[in-house]
Structures are given as structure tokens and as C-alpha cells.
């Protein structure tokens, strides 16, 4: 039996038998990636909107800087967050290292520039006449923002999907500041890394299939939203 067929069978077995270890990793993955995405959107959409809509000196430089952050390697983010959270670090007294919260902090830092850059692009791509129309109709600034964001909603959805994909599949942050602790901070990606370390490649591939299944579920839900919007 080839490793891929074996992996496929094991993936189904893990799902159907409700393997508690696998479900724990799925739960942790779902938790950290969802909270990270929500935080990224919460900060990234306003930041991206400002960056794409407002005009201020240094906007171009800032825009380039944010685009550069899209290439931030996850291990580097992991190291930065480790430096912040380590016992003697600036945030050490909160004792967040090797908890799910540490992963959330790192993954939010990963998702934030993605949401910011893609929101800015979406807002920049709006028809210039929209802004003029809103202005000439005497819409309040708040109203103008809300309408522009509404018009850019597909772009925002794309930003959310992209950020979620990145956050869901990263392994550098989760392993460095989460520590891959069974039942606590083990995510699907760190579990794959561990199975590879153990030399059990079929188990690694099976977990990868489950991760893909999760991703497709989330994307289907997001596109369901798009249809209704």
C-alpha cells in the first residue's frame, strides 16, 4: 500500500473514530486561527482603509512598507514574539509563552499586514466617482467611510480569505511560541511537523488532509457570505 493511500485511509479513520488527539489539534487550530483572523480584521481593515483612502505625506512609503511586511517569515515573527514574551522580556510577567495566546499574538501579527495591504488595494480600486458623488451629496465622513467599505466588500472578503489561509497553515510561529504541547498548544501544522520528526509520514499527510478539509469548509462558509452580501 502506497503512503498516500495509507494516509487517506488514516485521515478518514481519524475523523470517523473521533481520535481525541486529532480533535484537540483541530480545536486548537480553529481557535487560534479564528481569533487571530478576527484581530487582524479588527485592526487591519481600519488601517488599510486609511492607507487606501486618505492622502497624507509619507503614504507611499508606508504603503511600500506594509507591502514588504507581506514577506515577513513566520519564524522571524516567532522569534520576535518569543523575545517579547520570554520571562525577562517586556511582556514576560503575563506568562503567555507556550500558551495559545502566544500563538494568537504571533498569528495576528502575521495576518494584520495582509488584511491592511489588501484592504488598501481594494479601497484604492474603487471608482473615483464614488468619492465625488458622496461628497457632492453632502454625506458625513462616517457615512462616506461606511459606503466605501461596503462597495469594497469583495476585496475585503478576499483579504480575509487570504489572511485566514496564511494563518491557518503557518507552522513557524505556532511551534516557536506555542511549543507544540499536546492537548494545549498542538495545532494541526505542528502535529504534522512532529509526525515528520517521528518518521510517521503517513500520519503527517493524513493530518494535512484534515487541515485542507477544514480550510475548504471555512472558504465555503465565506463564499456563502459573499452570495448573500
Amino acid at each position: 500500500m502506497g503512503p498516500f493511500l495509507e494516509a487517506l485511509i488514516r485521515a478518514f479513520r481519524m475523523i470517523l473514530t473521533v481520535d481525541p488527539e486529532v480533535y484537540s489539534a483541530v480545536g486548537t487550530t480553529l481557535y487560534v486561527s479564528t481569533v487571530s483572523l478576527v484581530l487582524s480584521l479588527l485592526f487591519g481593515i481600519p488601517a488599510g482603509f486609511l492607507l487606501g483612502y486618505a492622502s497624507f505625506p509619507g503614504r507611499r512609503v508606508l504603503r511600500t512598507f506594509v507591502d514588504t511586511l507581506l514577506s515577513l517569515p513566520t519564524v522571524l515573527i516567532g522569534l520576535l514574539v518569543y523575545g517579547l514574551l520570554t520571562h525577562n522580556g517586556p511582556l514576560g510577567r503575563f506568562e503567555l509563552l507556550f500558551t495559545v495566546h502566544a500563538i494568537v499574538i504571533g498569528q495576528s501579527l502575521l495576518g494584520f499586514p495582509i488584511v491592511t495591504a489588501l484592504t488598501a488595494s481594494a479601497v484604492e480600486a474603487l471608482d473615483q466617482r464614488l468619492r465625488l458623488t458622496l461628497l457632492s451629496l453632502g454625506a458625513s465622513p462616517l457615512r462616506r467611510c461606511a459606503t466605501s467599505l461596503r462597495e469594497a466588500r469583495y476585496g475585503l472578503l478576499a483579504a480575509a480569505v487570504t489572511a485566514y489561509g496564511r494563518v491557518l497553515t503557518e507552522v513557524g510561529i505556532a511551534i516557536m511560541v506555542g511549543g507544540n504541547i499536546k492537548w494545549h498548544t498542538r495545532t494541526l501544522t505542528t502535529a504534522i511537523a512532529l509526525e515528520t520528526n517521528k518518521g510517521d509520514f503517513a500520519a503527517g499527510i493524513a493530518l494535512g488532509l484534515i487541515l485542507l478539509l477544514m480550510a475548504s469548509g471555512v472558504n465555503a462558509a465565506l463564499y456563502g457570505l459573499r452570495k448573500r452580501a
Binding site: 480545536g27 480553529l30 481557535y31 479564528t34 481569533v35 478576527v38 520570554t86 520571562h87 525577562n88 506568562e95 509563552l97 507556550f98 495559545v100 511549543g179 507544540n180 504541547i181 499536546k182 492537548w183 494545549h184 512532529l194 515528520t196 520528526n197 517521528k198 518518521g199 462558509a221 457570505l225 448573500r228 452580501a229
Partner: protein, 278 residues
Amino acid sequence: MKKAIQGVLRLLVVLGVLEYAAAGNAETLMMATTTSTDATGFLDALAPKVKEILQIDLRWVATGTGKALELGKRCDVDILLVHAPRAEKEYVQHGYGVNRRVLMYNDFVLVGPPSDPAKVKGSEIEEAMRRIAGSKASFVSRGDNSGTHMKEIELWRAAGLADVPSYPEYLETGQGMMATLEVASQRRAYTLTDRATLAKFGEDAHRASSLPVLVEGAESLKNYYSLITVNPEKCPKVRAASAEKFTEWMVGPEGQAFIGAFRVGGRPVFLPDAQRRQ
């Protein structure tokens, strides 16, 4: 849209509650350890026992010995289970750790391609290292400052080489033992490994035959694992009481019996050896 957001938020609250509920009453003991104790399933088997008998929730981060010692220095863990006696003694001397107790050992073996191009089979380990370096045969090194890597460097020195070899076929993986064995097997290279990880690697018969044991048994190849508590005077948040309780149990008859009974593929991988007090 609003409903969807509400749904997501509700899910987050539920998951958050589950996370805290799972913590329970047992006190957490955070360990930094090496890849071999994790990849063999040793700690997976040990943790439920420790929870049941000692009411300690053992959690661990598996990495190389070098990084494990570093995590201890930075007060990010409570206890270490590592295998690099020389580095450990230095660590304790510098005041970073206390109560270092030798727990168990297994041994290192030199494995390599069945064709054995450097003709090392059956020779003394020092002679084998010299022959490999002399014939510039493929050798895969961990290169990650792990206990195994430190032992490898020690062996090059003991073989009379001025320094670690550097020729094109001396490869550093920078990865764990299992990944390094895989590279050695694929590249038909020699490598130094602990027997525990090799046993796990060799559960697949095909892979076992790709990397036969060529040199074994020397005293200098013994691989001692020790527990070290991170010094509570330097790191006030260390859970010293739990660390003490855990250490005493591990070096005591119950812990030692557990180590002796642990098997991978029907074979023992760690031999209890807590008599050696230091």
C-alpha cells in the same frame, strides 16, 4: 453578515471556556527536553502516569539540548530533561540549574550505508571517525547544538582531529534526529544517532536495512539523560516544589521501573540508572 459575526464570537467564547476547563486542578510542570524523549513516545507514555500519581500536569517543549538549556536560562520552563553531561555540569556550575540527577541512559551508535565505503564496521569508534574523515566519506551531522551534536564533536576531538571536518560531503541538517536519519539513509551517509530514535526509525524494515549499526558498545558512546531543575533563586516563578516531587519520583523505584519497562517495537530504549548521584 451580523448573524455570522455573532456566530463566530459565540464559538470563540465556547472554545475559550473549554481551554480553561481543560486545565483542571493538577499543577503544571513545564519541561524543556530533547527530540528523542518526545519522538520515541516516552513522554507521551509518562505524562498520564505522572498526572495520576503525582497530580502534576507535565507539559513539554521538545527541541535540541542546546535550546532546552537556553530556555532554562531564560526562566521559560521549570525543569530540563537533557543529555549532554559536559554542558549540563557547566550549566549547573554557572548557577542556572540545581538538583541535577542522572536518570537513565541509552547509547549512541554509528550507522552508515551497508556498503560501508570507509570500512569502519567493527572498529573502535575513534578509529572509525578517523577513517570517515580520512576518506572524506559522506557524513550527516545534526549541526544543531543538540546533545547528539555535542557528542559528535567530542568524538571527532577524541579521534585526534583538530576540528570538526569540513569537506563537501560533511552535511549539516540542523534538524531533529529522525529527519537526520532520513537524510543519512537517502544520501547513503554515515551518522551518529541515539539508539532510541534509531529503534523508532527502524520500525520500518526497509529503512532499518538502509542504515545498519556499524560501531557500538564503547563506554564513550553512552548517552546519559539527566533532570535539572531551573534554579528558583534566578527564576522565582519556577515551580520548584513540583519539580522536586517529579524528580524524586523519577529517580525513585517507581520512576526507574517505568523507564525500564518502556518499549519501542518490543525493545527497551532507555536503561534506568539513577544510582549515579552527582
